[in-house]
Symmetry: D3
Subunit: 251 residues, 6 copies
């Protein structure tokens, strides 16, 4: 099963084409790194916060720590959702995505080089149109890189090369029998199989999460989706690098 | 005690001058009304969500309902705060401000004209630099007005004149002995007395909340602060009206 | 707009007259200070608890700390309310009032003179008939003064003059077009504008919180309400002083 | 093992003597039944709240329902305890006692005669000096009886004889080797064995809960304690009947 | 009132006969002591976990600490119950039983001989058919004894004789007018009076908890139930001793 | 990268060999389907509970519903973990696994054929030694099949063929450079890459979740792990079918 010309996509994209992606650095004034990332109409604010020291269980190890928290504003979605703070508990989906983002970002960093510093990455979805977790990872990496530079500029890293590789993420799925890249919400709800893939800048895998929402999928479909995802991540890595090359002009 | 020339303000403003205010309508694609409001570096996203029907205790009354929820992103502030969803409980300050915004907005609307519809206003502080609750009220009114227009356009109002008056809010405080309008964070922490005032477009009061943070205040100080606030609210009302006059061009 | 003879009040009081106020000291045997305060049928038990030391964030500052918690028994009101402990969360109104009481009491005390001691004031409403927060502040001040004396008697104050001024509070509101002092529940629910005012013994303001429950209010109404409140607080200050002059006879 | 003259009790009572007991009816204005009960310095406010109807799982059964909630004010005790509402959870001891009170009161009532009405009894400990749960049961029965009379007076009972027997409770314990009745806090903490006994007015048992706090107890000690408890409950039943005979004069 | 031949029991047992009891030691590989205990179809997994040190409030006392937590799997019962972790709060019944188990086990141990070690006993009901709390206590004692042996084998006890006596527990109740031992669920729901009794190996009482579920009970019934319970506990103590005599062969 | 002879596995297995697997049906007496599943020392109790009807949001759809909840007993692991019920919140890992099990099981069932019935599957880990989530899915499928048969036997299915295919799951990982099947805890903690794969009985994929715990993985490693997993799932499917062929003899 290889990508074949099928029905056109709702927004006219090719099957292997990303939505327009923008990465706006320094969207916030206080955070040590911050990015407003947009994958089409999906808009996620990523803020990296540095604190000296690490959690108690890690003290004295010489290693730093990176965590992430994902959340959605109540009206990021088509209909309003109740706030998790009001409900008094965090839902399973939120937990799951926060953990995924944290694991993915830790793949990009040498925690020994970071030294006993902590970086918390907050990914708040301001508007959701599919792919919020992959946009969050892609933007969060840039915010993390800026936060690490901030530490480097203050001579607070144990070694200067704390960032060892970039990470980016994209969703892929089979819609109307066709494997497609970077699904928007309208396609996502119709996808039979849905996969989120996190890659490093040099094309290795960090996470592969595939789910048959309806029915099942075979090895050929899996292979086709992985191919698409690897291509999409490569393009996102390029955009991340480009954003990081620009001088961090004040907003 | 009248405003007197004292030490210049940190950003060079006159004592009775607002920070630059921008009101961007339709910042979100899904919400029935949405505004990104900025008072200087304070930035609040206000989203108005319409649902048909009212809470159980109000059914059959013929009256609509308007509520508000206020929240801050973890890194809106100089140092990161824990999420209330993670802590599992909403803090007193958040509760207090949510209730203030809700009461203020209900002063602008004729709930019988609204009919049995509910409007929830979410005010999420993306960046905080003082005056977040007053910016939230000022922006939320515009989002509410757009949501009411949306209902009107669908013939879902009981009567067309559901908005009866605008509301806007501003903070005032005594800093270095001088009454000043619209305090930024740096001034706010040094203020002896701090007051939040909510006015209607024709200059009546909806809420007056004054607090002596250190020491106490006398009637003269109170009068001077009220004068400043009334002037500031009038200017904000003018900016709200101007924003609402613009056609709701797609973002 | 000045107080004018209007419809008589339900209990026959003059517009500027308090309900019968009683302040019973030492109502509890264990607390370092305790007061049962009654404003008419509103009955609040105020207990001041002293502990040595201060919260972690304040240690080494040489400053003491004063906090307050407000709560209502389930059947303090006309119909029973669920317990907040059973619901597992504290409501916004409770939070708001606890914070108000705490701020008000801190205006009466020199935290440096208190030294690194903490005083927690619990205000539990045994019966509610309007004005519970203002009765709580008025009674809590007396309990606080007794707790400070208790510390003084044990030579545990940094300086003997920890109480710098008294604080008392009263509600005022416009009912049937007439500004009235110290509203009971029956008047409170009919009030167009409602204000809670906290004053020091010498007539300065600590807090001014005015709300237009229905409609709005103008500067003249605000001025009339403030006049009434200042008069009511003066009378309450006199009653507090009288109560504190009595020897603390064991109950 | 029978009661023998040992060391005198701290307050000079005989081993089989209750503390001074007072039962003040109608302590509250709003509740359908209310009692301030005092066992020495232990003071519990019991409020009975009537609502028409029963919980969903009981509807259509023709049976009423009686529940109880027990709680302590933070400074009821020698040192202040944190509020359960602030901690966000109810402790095991509170749960245990609430359930005991509810079971005990249901033994006094014919739920079919009550009809589909609910009565909630709130027992709030204003001051604790040992025996709070037994004082609560003893006072709550009187409040319950008044609430049932209130229903009877409004012709809302299915049958007039809803109260079938009185219930009262007392603690007993072995202190310094001597079985003693109605332990105050000072004795309670030194008791080797501690028992709470709930009896009906005619001397039958509703609950017997004995605990060896340190070590164990034998059958002879158990028998001696039960004898003491039966005697104490008989005296409490007499005091309840006496209180209920008085006309319910307004407080 | 002595046991008399009445209707046969549903499973044909004599009134004073236990259900088949099995005590399987070392059911788990990781725990320092573990037992699967079965009273008929009631099946409880008891795991004893040792940690060095004691809670903060006990440090430096030289005393150890023993606690217990009781819980039921959702489908231990005839119909599924919601998990307490999902509900976010622990119910009163669970709290009550956890506290009972903890108190009972502490009667078996010399906390000074235990030294500053903590043992937590988890009693998880895998299947419930009446008597879960009494099975839990009976099994937990054996797991506790194994955990103490584990500490002894590692020379971590302050003194070798930390176990001072065994404890076992059984339920008794009046069913169809007949006092019966060790009620299964079917009998339990029909019991007028229900009692849980915890005894030491030499027949002294640790806890006696009797409840009149419907109606009340007199002294004769109480005496008959206690006699039955003492006999049942003696048999359980014998089975515990037998289980502990077997070498702890790997499962 | 194909499996190569490397260091022997700790328990001597071949790289592509499962641990001993046992599937014990009807381990519980009350549940409509129940299985104790063991993958080596990992032991999970799976209980399927049937209720008539579906959640409110699904009523009238004609479709059934299947959910799952995963949990671990506190001492399932090497050291004791706190209960989530005591902490008052469910952790991210628990949520994540519960959702995975639910999605996996729904792939095995035709919800229209199930009719408006709900099946809740509880997977409680009694002992953990790696692979708890895959053992849970494998056992839960058998419990689900039994519960569906139970419904079929009572003529409560909309159509008899509600089970459309079996599902089984296994973990795979790269340990010491070698791809290995069904990791026990000791290998799991050392694995560089870790993957959980859920397959249907005919070898299609339901879920593929791969994580680089340390470093990253390339396409060849991914392919080798998928090959191993497909083989392991085929063997597990065979064992499930065998277990289901046995008559459901009473335990």
């Amino acid at each position: 099963m290889t990508p074949t010309p099928g029905k056109p996509r709702p927004d006219g994209r090719a099957a292997d084409q990303l939505r327009p992606v923008t990465i706006t650095r320094n969207w916030l004034d206080h955070a040590e790194g911050s990015v407003l990332v947009e994958f089409g109409r999906t808009r996620v604010l990523c803020a990296a916060s540095v604190t000296e020291g690490v959690p108690r269980w890690r003290r004295g190890s010489g290693l730093g720590w990176v965590t992430a928290e994902y959340s959605m504003l109540p009206r990021a979605t088509h209909t309003r959702s109740d706030r998790e703070s009001v409900k008094g508990r965090i839902g399973g989906r939120t937990h799951e995505i926060s953990r995924l983002i944290g694991r993915s970002l830790r793949a990009s960093i040498d925690l020994a080089a970071l030294g006993e510093n902590s970086i918390a990455i907050d990914c708040d979805v301001l508007q959701a149109d599919g792919g919020t977790r992959t946009a969050a990872i892609t933007g969060a990496y840039v915010a993390l890189a800026d936060a690490v530079s901030w530490l480097g500029g203050r001579k607070k890293l144990a070694r200067p090369t704390a960032i060892v590789q970039s990470v980016a993420a994209v969703s892929v799925g089979v819609v109307d029998g066709e494997p497609r890249l970077d699904l928007a919400y309208e396609e996502d709800v119709r996808a039979g199989t849905d996969m989120n893939v996190v890659c490093t800048g040099d094309g290795s895998f960090v996470e592969v999460q595939g789910t048959a929402e309806n029915g099942v999928f075979d090895r050929a479909a899996l292979d086709a989706l992985l191919d698409l995802a690897v291509g999409g991540c490569a393009e996102l890595s390029r955009l991340q690098a480009e954003a990081l090359r620009q001088s961090a002009a004040a907003r």
